[in-house]
C-alpha cells in the first residue's frame, strides 16, 4: 500500500510540476464545464430564426407570430415569396420557414394547414424545431379548438336557453291545449248530453185526412149550399125561394156546424185529432224542453268553445314563438360551420416539408462527418507534427539553418496539406461510391475542406507550440476538437445554447465549414453563394498563421533554450551520477 501511495504521490507531483499537464488536467475540465455550463445554462429560449411566409399578414398571422416571439424566436417576415424563405434556410439565415394561411379561422369543416419547411440535414435541429414549434402550434391549435368549441358551446347554450324558454312556452301550450282539450271534451259531453231524440210515434194521418176530407167535403157542400142559396136568391123571389134558401142555408149551417164540430173536436174525428194534437203538443213540449236544454248546452258549449278557441289561439301564438325559437336555434346551429369532431379537436394541421432533394440520412450527415474527420485529423496532425519537430533531437539544429521561421511553419502546414489531400481523396473517393450524385460537387467541397483543414492545422500547430509534451498536446487537441464539435450543433443544436455564446459559435470554423459543405452538398448551392464563408475560413487560416509566426518568433528562442537546458541538465545529472558512482 505504501509503495502504491508513494508511486501515486510521485505521479501527482510530476503532473503538477509540468505546467502544461497541470493546466490540461486540472483546468481544462473546469474550463470545459464552465463553458458548457454557460452555453447550456438556458431555459427554453431557443435561438431559432423563423421565417414566416403568408399571403397576407392578417391579425391571425400576427398573433401567431407574437406567440412565437414569446419564446424569443427571431421572426423574419416573408411576404413576397415562399421560395425566398426556403432559399434562406439553405443559406442558414433562417432555421425554418412556416407557411401560414392568412386566416386561421376554420370554416367549412376544413382544417387549416401550416407547413414547416426544414433543412433535413440538421437532424437534431429538425427535431428541436418540430418539438418546440409543434408545442406552439399545439397551443395555437388548442386556442382555435377552444374558440370553435366555445362557439359551439355558446350556440348550445343559446339553444339551451331558447329551448328552456320554448319548453316553458310549450308547457303553457300544453296546459292550454289540455284545457282546450278538456273544454272540448266538456263541450263534447254537453253536446252529447243534448237529447234531440224525437219519439218514433206514427201519427195516424188518416184521421186528419178524414177530418180534412170531411171538412173539405162539408166546406164544399157548404159552399155549394151557399152557392145555391145565392143562385136561389138571384133567380127567385124571396117568398118562393125562401124556403129553399133557408133550407140551403140550413144545410150550409149544418155543414158548418159539422165543420165547427169537427173543428171543436166534438166529433170523434176531431177527438182523435185532438188526441193527436195533444200527443203532438206533448211531444212538442218535450221537444221544447229538450231544445231549451240543448240551447243551454249550446250556450255553455259556445262559451267553452270560445275559451277553447282563446286557448288554442294562445297555443298557436306560443307555438309560433317556439317555432321562431326553433328557427333561430336552427339558424344559430347552421351558422356553426365546423361540425366534424376531428376538426374541432385539431383545427390546425402541420405539415413538414423538407428543403432540398429527398436523400438518405447518410447524405444529411455526410457534411458533418466529413468536417469532423478533417477537423480531428488536421488538429491532431498539426499538433503531432509540431510536437514531433519540437521534441526531435534535430529541433535545436534548425535554429542554425539559414531559414526563416515561417518556412518551418509553412513546411509543417504543407506536410499536413499533403496528408489531408490524401485523406480527402480517400474519403471523397469512398463516399462517391455511396453518394454518386455528389460527383460534380467534389471539387468545391474538397477546396472548402482544404481551406478548413488549414484552419484546424494551424490551430493544432498553435497547440503544439503551446504545450510541452506530445501527450498533453494531443490531449489539448482532442479537447479543443471535442469542444468545437460540442458547440458545432452536430451533437446538440446550437440554437439551444445561450444567446451570447451562440453568437460566438457562429464563428466556430467547424460550424462555418459544415455550413458550406452542407450548402454545397445537400442544396447544390453555387460556389458563389459560399465564397464569403470560405473567405472567412481563409482569413482564420491567415490570422492563425500570423499568430503562429508571432508565437514562433516570441517562443522559438524560449523553446530552444528550454530544449538545450533540458539536454544540458541531463548532462549535469549524468555527470553528478557518474561522480557519485566514482
Amino acid at each position: 500500500m505504501k509503495s502504491l501511495w508513494l508511486l501515486t504521490k510521485k505521479n501527482l507531483k510530476l503532473l503538477i510540476r509540468s505546467k502544461s499537464s497541470a493546466l490540461v488536467i486540472f483546468f481544462a475540465p473546469l474550463l470545459i464545464i464552465l463553458v458548457l455550463g454557460l452555453s447550456y445554462n438556458t431555459s427554453s429560449k431557443y435561438g431559432l430564426n423563423i421565417g414566416i411566409y403568408s399571403d397576407s399578414f392578417t391579425e391571425d398571422v400576427t398573433s401567431f407570430m407574437m406567440l412565437l416571439q414569446e419564446q424569443e424566436f427571431k421572426i423574419v417576415k416573408y411576404d413576397t415569396s415562399l421560395e425566398e424563405c426556403v432559399s434562406d434556410i439553405k443559406q442558414g439565415f433562417v432555421h425554418t420557414c412556416i407557411s401560414v394561411p392568412s386566416s386561421l379561422n376554420v370554416e367549412d369543416n376544413q382544417q387549416k394547414e401550416i407547413t414547416f419547411y426544414i433543412d433535413p440535414s440538421k437532424i437534431n435541429l429538425v427535431w428541436m424545431i418540430q418539438d418546440t414549434l409543434g408545442n406552439k402550434f399545439d397551443l395555437k391549435s388548442q386556442e382555435l379548438s377552444k374558440e370553435i368549441a366555445g362557439n359551439i358551446l355558446s350556440k348550445l347554450s343559446y339553444a339551451k336557453t331558447r329551448t328552456a324558454e320554448s319548453s316553458a312556452q310549450l308547457n303553457s301550450v300544453k296546459e292550454q291545449t289540455t284545457a282546450a282539450s278538456n273544454s272540448a271534451e266538456a263541450v263534447k259531453g254537453t253536446i252529447e248530453s243534448i237529447d234531440l231524440k224525437v219519439p218514433l210515434i206514427v201519427y195516424d194521418n188518416s184521421v186528419v185526412e178524414t177530418v180534412k176530407s170531411g171538412i173539405v167535403s162539408k166546406v164544399k157542400q157548404s159552399k155549394n149550399d151557399l152557392a145555391n142559396a145565392r143562385a136561389g136568391i138571384e133567380g127567385a123571389t124571396l117568398e118562393e125561394g125562401k124556403d129553399s134558401i133557408l133550407s140551403s142555408l140550413d144545410e150550409a149551417q149544418d155543414s158548418l156546424d159539422d165543420v165547427s164540430s169537427l173543428l171543436e173536436g166534438n166529433s170523434s174525428g176531431f177527438g182523435e185529432i185532438s188526441v193527436l194534437v195533444e200527443s203532438l203538443q206533448h211531444d212538442l213540449i218535450q221537444a221544447q224542453s229538450k231544445l231549451a236544454s240543448a240551447s243551454e248546452a249550446l250556450s255553455s258549449s259556445t262559451s267553452s268553445l270560445e275559451s277553447t278557441a282563446t286557448q288554442i289561439r294562445e297555443s298557436v301564438t306560443a307555438m309560433a314563438t317556439v317555432q321562431t325559437s326553433l328557427d333561430e336555434m336552427k339558424s344559430a346551429l347552421e351558422a356553426q360551420k365546423v361540425t366534424e369532431a376531428d376538426i374541432v379537436a385539431a383545427p390546425l394541421v402541420t405539415k413538414v416539408e423538407r428543403v432540398g432533394q429527398e436523400s438518405s440520412y447518410l447524405n444529411y450527415s455526410f457534411p458533418g462527418l466529413l468536417v469532423l474527420v478533417i477537423m480531428f485529423s488536421s488538429l491532431l496532425l498539426g499538433t503531432t507534427l509540431v510536437m514531433m519537430e519540437k521534441n526531435s533531437p534535430a529541433f535545436f539544429r534548425n535554429y542554425f539553418l539559414p531559414l526563416r521561421k515561417g518556412t518551418f511553419v509553412i513546411a509543417t502546414y504543407l506536410t499536413n496539406t499533403v496528408i489531408t489531400l490524401i485523406q480527402l481523396a480517400v474519403i471523397l473517393g469512398v463516399s462517391l461510391f455511396f453518394l454518386k450524385s455528389g460527383l460534380p460537387l467534389i471539387m468545391p467541397i474538397a477546396f472548402t475542406l482544404l481551406v478548413s483543414s488549414a484552419v484546424f492545422t494551424f490551430l493544432g500547430m498553435a497547440i503544439g507550440y503551446a504545450f510541452k509534451s506530445e501527450e498533453t498536446g494531443t490531449l489539448a487537441s482532442i479537447s479543443l476538437g471535442s469542444f468545437l464539435l460540442f458547440v458545432s450543433g452536430l451533437i446538440l443544436p446550437l440554437e439551444s445554447i445561450s444567446a451570447n455564446l451562440r453568437r460566438v459559435t457562429t464563428f466556430n470554423p467547424f460550424v462555418i465549414t459544415e455550413k458550406v459543405v452542407r450548402e454545397l452538398f445537400i442544396f447544390k448551392a453555387p460556389f458563389s453563394s459560399v465564397w464569403a464563408d470560405i473567405a472567412l475560413l481563409a482569413g482564420y487560416a491567415l490570422a492563425l498563421f500570423a499568430g503562429i509566426l508571432v508565437i514562433n518568433y516570441l517562443m522559438h528562442r524560449h523553446f530552444l533554450e528550454g530544449f538545450s537546458k533540458h539536454y544540458h541538465k541531463d548532462h549535469i545529472h549524468q555527470q553528478k551520477a557518474q561522480r557519485n558512482n566514482v
Binding site: 534535430a394 535545436f396 542554425f400 533554450e561 538545450s564 539536454y567 544540458h568
Partner: protein, 317 residues
C-alpha cells in the same frame, strides 16, 4: 584573422549571472578548448558565440566576411549562419532518417547545391568511417557513430567555424580519440573549432588555445603554452614508482629542496623547488636504486585548471 570577438560580454538569466565581462576572440584556424566545471557557463559561452543567445551586456562582433570588417554578430546572423556549424551536447539529427538522408537534408537546407552536398557527404562519410552505414537509420547507429554523424551534420555545409559542446561525452576512450583525431582533420581543412569538454587530456592534445571558464567568468584564455607558462615551475613534477624502497627514497628526497612531496605509498610525486638540481640529484639515485619506473611531467591542463579554480576560490574567500 579574428572570426568572432567578444567584448565585455555578460549574460544573465533573470537575476542569475551566467557570464560576465567576457572578452576574447576566436582566430581563424584555431582549435579552442573551452573548459570549466559543470554549470560554469561553457554552454552559454558557446551559445553566445553561435548567436543562439544574445548577450545581456557587451558586444559580439563577427568578421566572417573579410571585406566587411567586424560587424555585430546578431544583427548579421542570417548572413553567416551557413558559416557556422554547431554540434550541441546532445545529438541533433533525425533518428528516423538514415545517415545519408540526415546529411542531405541539412546540407540542402544550408542552401548548398545538391551536387556539392553529395560530394561533401561522401568525404564526410569517408572521414567518419560511416560509408558502410549510410543507409542505416540514425537511431540504429552506435553512440560513437551517432556522435560522428552529428558532427558531420554540422560540417556538411562546410562551415568556417565549428562549435562543439561535449563532443566526446559518453564515448569510450577509443571513440573519444577517434573523434578528436577526426576534428583535427577537419581543422586541417580550414575549419576553426571551438570545443567545450570535460575531457581535458584530449583537449590538451587537440587544442592550441584554451578558454578557462569558472564562476561566470573566463579566467584565462589563449594559447595553452602561454597559459601553462606561469604554472610550469610550480607544477613541474617528478613521479617515482618506489615500490619497497619507499622509506629509503623518502629519507633521501627530504634532503633535496622541494615544494611538496606527495606520498602515495609505492608512488611518490615530487614538486621540486629547483627542477634541474633535483633531476640531477635524482638521476644518481635512480641509477643506484634501479628506479627507472619514473617520469617527469609538465603541468597538465587539469593541473592548470585546478590551480586557477583554487586561486579564484582563495581570492573569493
Amino acid at each position: 584573422m579574428k572570426l568572432i570577438e567578444l567584448k565585455e560580454v555578460g549574460k544573465k538569466f533573470g537575476k542569475n549571472t551566467i557570464l560576465e565581462d567576457v572578452t576574447l576572440s576566436i582566430e581563424e584556424g584555431d582549435i579552442i578548448g573551452v573548459i570549466g566545471k559543470s554549470g560554469s557557463g561553457k554552454t552559454t559561452l558557446l551559445n553566445l558565440l553561435t548567436g543562439f543567445m544574445r548577450p545581456t551586456s557587451g558586444k559580439i562582433l563577427q568578421s566572417f566576411n573579410a571585406t566587411q570588417g567586424p560587424v555585430n554578430l546578431h544583427k548579421n546572423l542570417h548572413k553567416i549562419k551557413d558559416m557556422i556549424g554547431f554540434a550541441p551536447q546532445h545529438n541533433s539529427f533525425y533518428p528516423k532518417l538514415t545517415v545519408a538522408e540526415n546529411l542531405l537534408h541539412f546540407g540542402q537546407l544550408y542552401g548548398v547545391k545538391r551536387e556539392t552536398v553529395v560530394n561533401n557527404i561522401k568525404s564526410l562519410l569517408q572521414a567518419t568511417e560511416l560509408q558502410a552505414h549510410h543507409n542505416k537509420l540514425a537511431q540504429h547507429l552506435s553512440g560513437g557513430m551517432q556522435k560522428r554523424l552529428d558532427i558531420s551534420c554540422s560540417l556538411v555545409h562546410k562551415p568556417k567555424l565549428l562549435v562543439l559542446d561535449e563532443p566526446t561525452d559518453d564515448l569510450d576512450p577509443i571513440l573519444q580519440r577517434e573523434i578528436m583525431s577526426f576534428l583535427k582533420e577537419v581543422n586541417k581543412q580550414g575549419v576553426t573549432l571551438v570545443i567545450a569538454s570535460h575531457n581535458l587530456p584530449l583537449l590538451e592534445k587537440v587544442c592550441n588555445k584554451i578558454f578557462i571558464v569558472h564562476d561566470a567568468r573566463v579566467r584565462d584564455c589563449g594559447l595553452i603554452a602561454e597559459i601553462r607558462k606561469p604554472f610550469l615551475k610550480e607544477h613541474f613534477t617528478i613521479n617515482l614508482n618506489v615500490s619497497d624502497k619507499r622509506d629509503k627514497i623518502m629519507s633521501y628526497l627530504k634532503t633535496l629542496p622541494f615544494t611538496k612531496i606527495v606520498d602515495k605509498g609505492h608512488h611518490i610525486v615530487i614538486y621540486p623547488q629547483n627542477p634541474a638540481q633535483t633531476i640531477n640529484s635524482l638521476l644518481k639515485v635512480i641509477e643506484e636504486e634501479d628506479l627507472y619506473d619514473m617520469d617527469i611531467r609538465r603541468p597538465s591542463l587539469g593541473d592548470i585548471f585546478e590551480q586557477i579554480t583554487e586561486q579564484v576560490t582563495l581570492e573569493q574567500k
